[in-house]
């Protein structure tokens, strides 16, 4: 475990460099985009003087270097600046919206993992059976169905036709069901495909035959011997998917009016609200790095042979 601790410390230190790189990249990318934030913010009817005044207030009249310096010194002292659009601190804008996205991504990941692994194991064990083909077909649909379309179909069925579930929002306990299922569709499919492939590989190995030969119960063989050994690639896919869900939840959030951070990011890009976009991207980067560290630790838990 000592090696693991050192590995984590090293990873976290290296991540500071990554975060610095991210900050430079996002800062420059925003400023390369056409569109004057002051003009967008001031609106179509604003006079040129008003726009100029706003540009000054936002500090956009300063040199790039000066702007970056005030941004990065703010970040270091924990101040992400103020939203140009809402005048609220960026940190509180993010704090209000991040939990909704995290809850959605975690729920979708749980659904995706449980259903995906179960389906994948069944498909592998019953290889080439009708069930296997059925699972594969459904998984194929899950991977290829656009989130927008799936989301609207689910709303039509469960909110409009059956009247069981809220169509949008996050105010009620049941609100999360449709967005989470929609968001989970892709990862469920992916996890089941990966589980099936990984299981098939393991099931063909000698020690499985040995385990069966010594008379171990079939479930023991599948879960203890096969699944556990097949688990590393599955875990990798799940963790990658979780990251993708965090960033990619924006479509789901839009369809279901879910008050997450993805929508805030898109709204902010549209309004050229630089401070908010920079803040969210940095937070995303930090979450991803943290996620990687957690997965590194999980690898050790799942497979004690792994050493850092």
């Amino acid at each position: 475990m000592k090696g693991t601790a050192a590995h984590i410390v090293r990873t976290l230190l290296l991540s500071l460099i990554t975060l610095f790189g991210v900050s430079v990249l996002i800062f420059l990318m925003l400023r390369v985009l056409p569109g004057d934030p002051a003009r967008v913010l001031a609106g179509l009817n604003a006079s040129e003087e008003q726009v100029a005044r706003l540009r000054e207030q936002l500090g956009l009249d300063q040199s790039l270097l000066a702007q970056y310096w005030s941004f990065i010194t703010g970040v270091v002292t924990g101040d992400l600046g103020e939203s140009a659009r809402t005048s609220r601190p960026v940190s509180s804008e993010i704090a209000v919206r991040l939990p909704a996205t995290l809850i959605l991504a975690v729920t979708a990941t749980v659904i995706g993992s449980v259903v995906g692994i179960t389906a994948g194991v069944i498909a592998a064990v019953r290889r080439n059976s009708l069930l296997d083909h059925a699972i594969s077909s459904v998984a194929m649909m899950g991977v290829s169905m656009p989130v927008y379309w799936l989301g609207l179909l689910l709303i039509l069925l469960f909110a409009v036709t059956l009247g069981w579930l809220p169509a949008a929002g996050s105010g009620e306990p049941l609100s999360i069901v449709l967005p989470a299922v929609t968001l989970a569709a892709f990862s469920t499919a992916l996890v089941s495909r990966m589980t099936r492939a990984s299981m098939l590989e393991v099931l063909g190995q000698d020690y499985i035959r040995t385990a069966e030969a010594k008379g171990a119960a079939p479930r023991t063989v599948i879960i203890k011997h096969a699944l556990r050994n097949a688990f590393i690639p599955i875990l990798t896919v799940i963790s990658l998917q979780f990251g993708a869900l965090l960033g990619g939840a924006v479509l789901t959030e839009t369809v279901f009016g879910w008050p997450g951070i993805g929508r805030l990011l898109v709204d902010s890009i549209g309004a050229r609200d630089f401070a908010v976009v920079q803040g969210i991207v940095l937070v995303y980067a930090a979450v991803f790095i943290l996620l990687n560290v957690i997965v590194d630790v999980l690898y050790v838990v799942v497979d004690p042979r792994i050493r850092y």
Binding site: P34, G43, R53, R88, V160, P259
Partner: protein
């Protein structure tokens, strides 16, 4: 190997996961027994009224408003001094009387008695003075603030009389006082309840509802104000649900989870009109949609060419088949709801005439670029494609490009240069319903980057008439001046005149009393259950 037995011998970890999934299913099943209560009940007053809108509010400070949707929510809480009706005529609200002096430099307002702010502060002349001085304070960002820059001073003559002195006559000024930007907030509230003057998040006004709460990206809630000075509204609570996706808003309404929505998917308007459970209002708005032509361009500087382009496009057909009827073809360079509008003319679809005019101008087969925003106006990019199609039919070569709005704006709001795009699709909605505002588009003073007169159109005759209208106090004379200017502009055709966009509102037939204003707003404060 049998999967059901596999499932029975779960490890403890997967058991808890499965339990969570089962719980979710169970809870899901429960809702069958307990369906969503309808959003509006309302027996003898009370109840909740829910409206789904598409835009997450940026600020609740009246002075900071930019979009009509957010203004619409703020309007429940704060009120303006005057209102403007469908024809652009000014009427009373917090100011019972309003008078402009002979020289047009003094506006005298007589305030209503008995109005008070939600925090108990009386609404009086001092409060008006405070508010008007606030929106001309350079320290405050007031995006729609330009009409108020003519204010020189505000005097509280007595408790219920206010005198506003202007630096120059401004005929549109009274009308501008009807905009949410100039709504009245409690002077005491800029320093309390988490507010500062520059960061005003919890509005306190005189309106029929008090501001209750805002959940970012989700809901805005307002509650009935017991001591409201005017007519009492029906519902105790109004919820604005923020739902960016049009199809989801439509579903919320059809599922009975909200009472009213704005902006459904345009392609579904016909289906909604045929649905007996809901009612569709296609409210006329003041937003004109047009193709601004670069009047400096060697080809487009010829009025004959510009007229040809107007004849070449079949506006009626595009409105019917691309906008699904959610627009009215323009017959003047402004929307009919503006003061100063008069029916000016029409460019009926006539491709032969277009070809002939192009031939006379020697512009046959010219190549033109058309830039359009995407998703900013109803079916904007789709309409631009259709327009390009019609222009190609008369022998022109047209290249269409789309871009997101900030990039688009950067492109069209730039000084004239060889890069100036030949044609672009733009929408313009006057903040107040006076031709004065629309005519900004046809004056040299607003050529980019100073303003959004993006066609770079100017005509000395028009400039002279408009200069006269700027200082004309007599409303009838002023109206005539705008008509005269419109005639010339229509002939000059600086734009391809397209249509006035409609603002679709859909509500359940269980409620009534819902209308609209021509500034792309709904008027649902006095909504009530259908009798």
């Amino acid at each position: 190997m049998n999967t059901t037995t596999t499932a029975r011998r779960r490890t403890s970890r997967s058991r808890s996961l499965a339990a969570a999934a089962a719980l979710a299913l169970l809870v899901g099943a429960c809702s069958v027994e307990d369906p969503e209560a309808p959003a509006g009940d309302g027996e003898g007053g009370g109840g909740v009224f829910s409206i789904a809108v598409g835009i997450d509010p940026d600020t609740f400070d009246p002075a900071g408003q930019t979009t009509t949707t957010v203004q619409n929510m703020v309007d429940y809480v704060v009120e303006t001094l005057v209102t403007v009706d469908d024809e652009g005529t000014v009427g009373p609200r917090l100011a019972e009387t309003f008078e402009t002096s002979e020289d047009g430099l003094t506006v005298t307002l007589g305030l209503v008695e008995g109005a008070q702010f939600h925090d108990g502060t009386p609404f009086d002349a001092e409060a008006v003075k405070f508010n008007l001085e606030r929106i001309i304070d350079p320290a405050l960002t007031v995006p729609l603030g330009s009409p108020y820059e003519v204010i020189q001073s505000v005097t509280a003559v007595d408790e219920s009389t206010v005198e506003i002195t202007l630096t120059r006559p401004s005929p549109g000024f009274l009308s501008a006082l009807s905009v949410t930007t100039a709504a009245m907030i409690s002077p005491a509230s800029v320093e309390t309840g988490g507010n500062t003057n520059l960061n005003y998040q919890n509005p306190v006004g005189t309106g029929p509802y008090t501001f209750d709460s805002y959940t970012a990206g989700e809901t805005v809630t307002v509650q009935k104000f017991a001591d409201y000075w005017g007519e009492e509204p029906h519902y105790d609570t109004v919820n604005f649900r923020i739902v960016p996706e049009a199809a989801t808003r439509e579903s919320l309404l059809l599922a009975g989870q909200v009472d009213m929505i704005i902006l459904p998917p345009v392609s579904d308007i016909e289906a909604l009109q045929n649905n007996g459970d809901v009612e569709v209002l296609l409210a006329p708005s003041d937003r004109t949609i047009f193709i601004a032509l670069d009047n400096n361009d060697p080809v487009l500087s010829n009025p004959q060419v510009r007229q040809a382009l107007n004849y070449a496009v079949d506006k009626e057909t595009i409105v019917d088949s691309v906008l699904f009827g959610a627009a009215e073809v323009m017959n003047a360079p402004m929307a009919p709801s503006l003061f100063g509008y008069c029916e000016t003319g029409s460019y009926d679809y006539d491709p032969d005439r277009a070809r002939q005019l192009l031939a006379e101008a020697g512009a046959e087969g010219a190549t033109l670029d058309l830039l359009t925003p995407s998703g900013r106006y109803v079916q904007d990019a789709q309409a631009a494609e259709a327009i390009a199609g019609y222009l190609r039919e008369v022998g022109l070569t047209v290249n269409v490009t789309t871009s997101d709005f900030p990039s688009f704006l950067a492109r069209v709001n730039a000084p004239p240069s060889p890069e100036t795009v030949d044609m672009h699709l733009l929408g313009w909605a006057p903040a107040y319903l006076d031709a004065d505002f629309q005519m900004q588009m046809f004056r040299q003073a607003t050529h980019p980057p100073a303003g959004l007169g993006t066609a770079f159109y100017t005509n000395p005759e028009v400039e002279a008439i408009l200069a006269q209208a700027d200082v004309e106090i007599d409303q009838d004379t002023r109206e005539q001046l705008y008509c005269d200017a419109s005639e010339i502009i229509w002939e000059d055709a600086p734009w391809i005149f397209l249509w006035t966009q409609s603002f679709p509102i859909v509500h359940s037939t269980d409620v009534e009393g819902i209308g609209s204003t021509p500034t792309e707003k709904f008027d649902a404060i006095y909504a009530r259950p259908a009798s």
